[in-house]
Symmetry: C2
Subunit: 260 residues, 2 copies
């Protein structure tokens, strides 16, 4: 049974791309077939996997073609690692951000383009992971309308915790509009073990969102910040590191629904 998981949080810089990158690779290393979709016009997931990057190739194509012109998802993807297909952002994805996700018939239809594309392609993969931009634009709507689950990285700081209840309300609003539930998972990221604030944020999360916080916490370690600059996952860059161990364990948590 295919799982479609959007990696999302309107709060910026919490580790969405880092999580999408390393989770996708951890899942393939344990034998799962994965499709990673880069829904952020910054194309950071694409760049982190060494894939098509609008910075170096201004004409590159990807999910932008699927959403703007209706190309098929499989036609817009490429196998970047064994068992891992990437649908890159493409150079024109930013055009989708400025379109309205308003109430007009046209606006409403635009929100379902990713869902419709996933209905036609990649039906036999195990997991689809969608990396999202830090905004509530039309791209975010496409992710929420397509996904059955949302993985929410929350960095261990006050503003990240503050932003969470608003984001949960956005998800709830979408559930009302599409008349089905979206399973929510939280993962604590960028934890600074020695900071009192970080430990407090983590225990607050476990209290407010019991049963939804995945067991593994991801600590702040420099190797996780370095690997994207080489177009590599943490497993290729420094396999014997805390970051690699933690993302392997997080992949397992997600597969067996292991929460705190």
């Amino acid at each position: 049974e295919r799982r479609i998981i959007a990696v999302m949080n309107q709060k910026g810089g919490v580790g969405k791309t880092t999580t999408a990158l390393n989770l996708a690779c951890a899942l393939t290393l344990s034998g799962h077939r994965v499709v990673a979709i880069d829904l952020d016009p910054q194309a950071h997931l694409s760049a982190s996997l060494g894939g098509p990057d609008p910075l170096r190739d201004p004409g590159c194509k990807g999910i932008d073609q699927v959403l703007i012109e209706g190309t098929s998802l499989s036609g817009a993807s490429q196998e970047v690692r064994p068992n891992l297909h990437l649908v890159a952002a493409g150079a024109r994805l930013g055009e989708m951000e400025s379109l309205s996700s308003g109430r007009s018939r046209d606006g409403a239809q635009r929100g379902f383009r990713l869902r419709d594309a996933l209905d036609r392609s990649f039906k036999s993969v195990d997991v689809v992971l969608i990396d999202c931009p830090p905004s509530s634009s039309l791209l975010a709507m496409n992710a929420l309308f397509a996904a059955q689950e949302v993985l929410i990285p929350v960095s261990s700081d006050y503003l990240s915790l503050h932003a969470l209840s608003r984001f949960m309300a956005v998800i709830q609003h979408v559930e009302g509009a599409i008349k089905r539930n979206i399973t929510r998972w939280l993962v604590v990221t960028r934890l600074h073990e020695r900071r009192r604030l970080a430990r407090e944020v983590r225990s607050k999360l476990m209290e407010y969102f019991q049963g939804q916080v995945l067991m593994t916490t991801i600590h702040e370690t420099v190797a996780l910040a370095e690997s994207p600059s080489f177009g590599q996952s943490i497993f290729e860059y420094r396999n014997a590191s805390r970051g690699a161990d933690e993302y392997r364990a997080l992949a397992d948590d997600l597969l067996v629904w292991r929460t705190c």
Copy 2:
């Protein structure tokens, strides 16, 4: 002569709110009259100053009223510290994000609402600082159309550096549309002194953007992450700290145009 400065970067979590908060307060401590505008629906600048917060007060008003209903800026503000007026985000600011900033007459007009409001209010203050969300929505357009200067916090990591050229292109595009220049300042934030990657990112910034990087670098220190949770600036929370010294120096850099 009033300066209107947008604190912006589409890359999330680089320290936009932390910089807007502490810069606004540093400028008032050296006797300048400042207006801080919270243009992020997450209302993080408002919360960090202990101002109206949609989380605690779902009916609170602020810049949302100005942009949606045309209320005056001064009517929507409150003096939160001596010499510092805050125009909070307000509970309805998110509604502006889903409106299109497209080419239609209506879309184009919506982009100038903040500029028009600033033409009518706060003409005699020294500095207007606008904290922006990490997206390129209609709110970002309102900030760029209103601002004469853009202050771009860049955290010392690879993805933040990667995102910069795309953001610079967005600014250039807006300059073409409004037929005037926008002065750009960069500030290196969240520097981890001991990380080789951080030092490399910083020297690359100074090479690529000579004359635009402000002299003071802001280091990653826990007090800067803690102060917002108390609704305080770094000067109220821990005045004798590295973070307080650095934001005081950064305010001076901005006032005298001191770059590397």
